[in-house]
Symmetry: C2
Subunit: 211 residues, 2 copies
């Protein structure tokens, strides 16, 4: 059993991935922890520590091969797996996510949307159908859906999450402003936009009161 990686490290991985992609796009194929440190803003020491949690990707005296490191981190993140995904809640946010092609590129294949509002059921977003939320359990089982994106109002989020959980989903990307209560084996990643905005508000407020 490998040692547990801390959440702090995990959350830095996507940032490494993004910066390495940038380097490749700029035709840079080799980088030292010191150079990477200067562009990404972590200490060189932290970069070496972080990467060494997953393997010795570097070479003494040389640094890291950007392409190799990029691919390795991609594997660690599990990008390329092609997770079957549905969006629950076809309001503004659900539709925006459905329309955003970046998620497809990241290996999340959106298969359909689900919605309670009868006005939206039957419509299409791009080539994606909006189905009745009542049919979600069957759809998940029949189409091997692994991920659900919850974009419902907060009132229905927990109920939906319970139903998804019982239908055998593996992970939830939750945009509803609640903390979902779910079994241990189900992975949840929250995007709490209001909390982010309040943080911005705090920082502005603090800045203004400092003078």
């Amino acid at each position: 059993m490998s040692k547990q990686i801390s959440m702090a490290v995990i959350r830095r991985l996507p940032k490494y991935y993004r910066y390495l992609r940038d380097l490749l796009d700029r035709d840079i194929y080799r980088i030292s922890s010191k150079e990477l440190s200067e562009i990404i803003g972590f200490t060189a020491s932290q970069i070496r520590q972080d990467l060494n949690n997953f393997g010795g990707f570097g070479q003494q005296g040389y640094g890291y091969n950007v392409e190799e490191l990029y691919n390795e981190i991609g594997k660690i993140l599990g990008i390329d797996k092609g997770y079957n995904t549905v969006i629950v809640g076809a309001g503004n946010l659900g539709q925006a996510i459905a329309n955003y092609s970046g998620f497809q590129k990241s290996g999340f294949e959106i298969k359909a949307l689900f919605e309670a509002n009868p006005r939206l059921i039957g419509l299409k977003i791009r080539d994606l159908e909006i189905f009745d939320i009542e049919d979600i359990e069957d759809y998940i089982k029949e189409n091997d859906i692994e991920i659900a994106v919850i974009c419902t109002p907060k009132e229905s989020a927990q109920d939906i999450a319970d139903r998804l959980s019982k239908s055998g989903i593996s992970g939830i990307w939750n945009f509803a402003p609640v903390d979902l209560n779910l079994p241990e084996n189900l992975v949840v990643e929250n995007v709490h936009l209001t909390e982010s905005l309040y943080t911005l508000s705090y920082l502005l407020n603090e800045k203004n009161s400092q003078k």
Copy 2:
């Protein structure tokens, strides 16, 4: 000069605020750190430490007055200030944010959208006009805009941010997948959706490989 509050504490404040709101809605007016601990999932000790950064809101032998604490945290977060806000980039995400009424409630008043695509310029989202991005500097100065929400592609985000910065904006809520380089006095809060999704991907991947 008051002691510096750590980012870890600041990011917990909106969560306190949300849970206290819930308690009020359930007509609960009094709570001890121990009881709050059980519903919010932080230790009672941490709750008391966190709150004491801002003042002695509790009472020995009694606990905390929910309404008072809610209002105090609201003040600390600066909710109620009524920040004038614009959205830059009127694509899917920009439109979704413009349509979401929650932000207005949180004291961020969206005044307009700005966009480079001529097909979108002149259209309206709800009652909000979409203006030409070229006019943003003048608009910001003339309308005392303090906050900008960046929903542009990553390629234009830094350029836009520079222009916003020069026009005298105070804060940026950045949804573009880049780390903006800006003067110290400008507050930036990032929402990196792809990073969040990659984190979910990692956790799923880890879960699946554990057995």
